[in-house]
């Protein structure tokens, strides 16, 4: 498993280096910030803004996965655990040049809900999850949430949750991706939890076949 993880890291690194069009990080952060602020002004309801950001992310994700699969040439993942590894080490690395830390969750109903030092549970059952912990978030450079946003429950980078959901849905996995904590809100870490809802049965060819 360790070798595969290193391989994923290497793939991610190569993909990032191989990209010819990169965007200035400040421009990216400022554009996203302007987008969120405009949404806040338009909707005036932070829960609604969260929903809209997620929807936007979903649309991005459904298109992004094609680009990702074409460039990386990776095949189907064996289990949900591997999905988490690929998303973190290859996906995020090749698009945002960040590598969030992956922590795999245990299956909720069956065994005890402790995370670490447990034999890996059957990693394909619905309810399996992984958590992505972000050390840095290029979307949220320079951002400080005002009081109302903190009280209203705004997840500033909620677009990322949508991207994950949209991308995985295109490869036959219905997932739920939500923010668990965010440093912008004063929490210790920024974490997204991705939980598998079910595998989708429609046979849509992924990548080129």
């Amino acid at each position: 498993m360790a070798t595969t993880s290193k391989q994923y890291k290497a793939i991610g690194e190569d993909l990032w280096k191989g990209r010819t069009e990169k965007i200035n990080a400040e421009l990216f952060a400022l554009t996203y910030g302007a987008l969120v602020v405009q949404l806040v002004q338009d909707y005036e309801d932070y829960a609604e803004v969260n929903k809209q950001l997620e929807k936007m992310g979903y649309n991005i994700g459904t298109r992004l996965i094609e680009d990702f699969l074409a460039r990386s040439g990776l095949g189907r993942c064996a289990d949900f655990r591997e999905v988490g590894e690929v998303v973190a080490k290859v996906g995020f690395k090749s698009f945002l040049n960040i590598t969030p830390t992956v922590t795999h969750g245990a299956l909720p109903p069956a065994s005890s809900p402790t995370r670490s030092s447990m034999p890996p549970p059957p990693a394909n059952a619905p309810g399996t999850s992984f958590t992505l912990q972000f050390d840095e978030n290029p979307l949220a450079e320079f951002v400080e949430l005002p009081e109302e946003a903190l009280e209203g429950g705004l997840w500033f980078s909620n677009v990322l949750c949508g991207v994950i959901r949209g991308a995985l849905e295109m490869v036959q996995m219905q997932v739920q991706a939500t923010f668990v904590s965010d440093v912008l809100r004063g929490d210790e870490t920024t974490e997204i939890r991705v939980t598998l809802v079910k595998y989708l049965e429609e046979e849509v060819p992924v990548g080129d076949d």
């Binding site: 400022l30 910030g33 320079f142 951002v143 400080e144 949430l145």
Partner: protein
Amino acid sequence: MSHHLFLLSPSDTPLYSLTHYSSKPSQSTSSPLASNLPSWSTSAFAGTLTALSGASSASQTQHGQGGTVKIGGGQDRHVIQMIANASLDAIEEVMRKESVMYLKSVDKFNEWTVSAFVTPGNMKFVLLHESRNDDGIKAFFNDVWELYVKTMLNPFHTAHTPIRSPVFDARVRASAKKHL
């Protein structure tokens, strides 16, 4: 020894103000005029007398009895602000001649010196201080400038509105402690 910092927008709207009491020792020159006033004259009227009789400007600062400068309750907030506002003309004059960012001391009153720093975006940082501390003040201004730029980059901050961020406030205070 205290310092008063004001951040002013290009239209001279105050966006941020800070009073910092430095723990560093300084040579405070007591104004001989103030110590001559009778001990009961702590009103603004007495201050005006001081100004009219000696100082070259219309603004004044209040002195405690015996030549020691009293801070806090003894010094009126609006007096300080008047000094800062009066120095704006001097700042603009200097700005017209040179185009450096850090204008050292543009104005001097009884014992308050006004130093100014003008950013490329025409924001004015005005600092009222009592002692000379050019290097420290220059470093402080540069720090405040950096912090100001970071605040401007926050998408939730509207340009030229008062800066209320507690993070900015904390960092400016820390920088003041370090440099002043």
